[in-house]
Symmetry: C2
Subunit: 311 residues, 2 copies
């Protein structure tokens, strides 16, 4: 992470929201790129990108942004990737790496492979990092520190290009793993997509009740509900695209979740305390393993009490 | 909260885990009680209670602890309340308040009303505060600051006693609300019990997968899954008792959750992006209201990045 050697002379960021903006800041912190050029659809965001130091230059279109770039990083919602690919295809530097930060990978390969020229290298990627905030002001340089970034190179991908992209993410603070797009999509369905879906769902259910007012839900949310509202505050467009693009894996994992939930529901209805106790005992160990793996804070209550209490 | 006037000459804490221990520390911080006597089933916990300053005195049995106490607070899992009530009944001071901190209220009234003598005042209570930790070392004095405490007095409860208990919780830092046991149980089913159940459930589902290893679930948990592991690390005995004791309200809210989830599942299967987008947009506002109500930190990612990054 503390490299000061230039990995890419020029990178292009297509989109500078939370992730794209953080890549710009982290690349600048690591001094691992020459020039960062960014584009965004709105003039306001392009202006913000310069003011916030997310990029050295901005371009009005994706086609202009990718000129001469050694690495192009798509950081917009995945639903737009097909159109962006078609727009930039004729403007890419031969030998350039085309990558992305999308939360699904099979659909990215499907959208981009047919439209990109043969002389560039498509290596999709996904940093497992983020917050519930979005937009250019949400980014920060340390977002990827100690987080995993998964790369899903197609079979027969150029080893040198893969190593370059690996070095780039390592310079940004991340640890890199490589797997197939299909396996990525299955892993993320259970570690990210279904968790987001059930968080969105319970917040919706609570919002729709008649017997309990919304004011009561808000007042007494510290009993557990508020935890779910964090990921249910994530970007709606991005998440719509993820569920549409990872349909099969999400439906598979959701089916398992619902089966298990029906079984718990039955245990409650029939007063089977042992079944409840067994599950509740088993799940405690997993959090500790996540903490031990450096992927979670060990502080009780996520460390919230350090922040919002005045002692 | 900064009162230094004595509300109770003597209180008895039956159980000194996270909540009981925090009551002892918060009451001492507020200087609002004369003597705090505590009991716990294990000698080790009683020893810890003295060493940690959770109580001034300990007693070996609940029957001994309640002698001369003006206010008795049951802080053990609710499944044990019937037995505890029977044990202490003959030893209670006439006029004493008997209250508790259990997460269900209808079942507490059912368990305690028949066994308590007529000359004491049962006023069940529930502070909506906690962390995923348990045991006497998990307590801290500021746990109840800015959190709500719900009291569920029976019809015709003594107004003076209710006011005393309200003043006590206010001195501990909490804000007090009053409602019926049945309404409490419905509100908590959606704000706490069902959230805990689905968190336990998804952690169990992830633990059971064959296609995705447990190592992968742990490594990539920052995509959302890890948020659920916090409440799924809560005390198993306590939560088993809650689900058994609040069966009807939990099944009602769980039914609504499952219906809504089936509808989302259908939207994903049929590619109905508008339905997904509509829900995902609606849920964002609720988090902001919870933050505005002082029940949640405004920091992105629960403020985790303030703790676990070295910048």
């Amino acid at each position: 992470m503390a490299t000061d050697s230039v990995i890419f002379d020029r990178i292009a960021l297509i989109g500078v929201g939370l992730i794209g903006g953080s890549i710009g800041l982290a690349a600048r912190r690591a001094n691992c790129v020459g020039t960062i050029v960014a584009t965004a659809r709105s003039a306001e965001t392009r202006q913000a990108a310069i003011e916030l130091g997310l990029a050295d230059q901005v371009a009005e279109t994706a086609a202009a942004a990718v000129q001469d770039a050694d690495c192009v990083i798509l950081c917009s919602p995945v639903g737009a990737f097909g159109d962006i690919g078609a727009e930039i295809a004729a403007h890419l530097k031969p030998g350039a790496i085309i990558t992305d930060v999308g939360s699904v990978k099979g659909a990215v390969v499907e959208a981009l492979s047919p439209v990109l020229p043969a002389n560039v290298h498509l290596i999709p990627g996904h940093p497992i990092a983020g917050t519930e905030k979005s937009g250019p002001t949400a980014g920060f340089a340390s977002l990827f520190d100690q987080r995993w970034c998964i790369l899903t190179p197609p079979e027969g991908a150029d080893g040198h290009k893969l190593a370059q992209l690996d070095a780039f993410w390592t310079a940004l603070g991340a640890e890199v793993d490589v797997m197939t797009p299909a396996h990525h999509d299955l892993v993320l369905a259970i570690t990210s997509h279904v968790p987001h879906l059930i968080a969105y769902n319970i917040v919706g259910t609570a919002d729709d009740l008649e017997e309990v007012t919304q004011g009561e839900v808000i007042k007494y949310s510290a009993g557990g509900f508020r935890d779910f509202t964090r990921i249910a505050a994530s970007d709606p467009t991005m998440w719509r695209d993820i569920f549409l693009a990872n349909k099969d894996a999400v439906l598979e994992m959701l089916g398992r979740f619902s089966e298990d939930l029906s079984s718990l529901q039955r245990a409650i209805r029939w007063g089977d305390g042992d079944a409840l106790f067994d599950l509740f005992s088993r799940t405690r160990a997993i959090r500790q393993q996540i903490i031990d793996a450096g992927q979670e804070t060990a502080d009780p209550d996520f460390g919230r009490h350090n922040d919002d209490d005045d002692g």
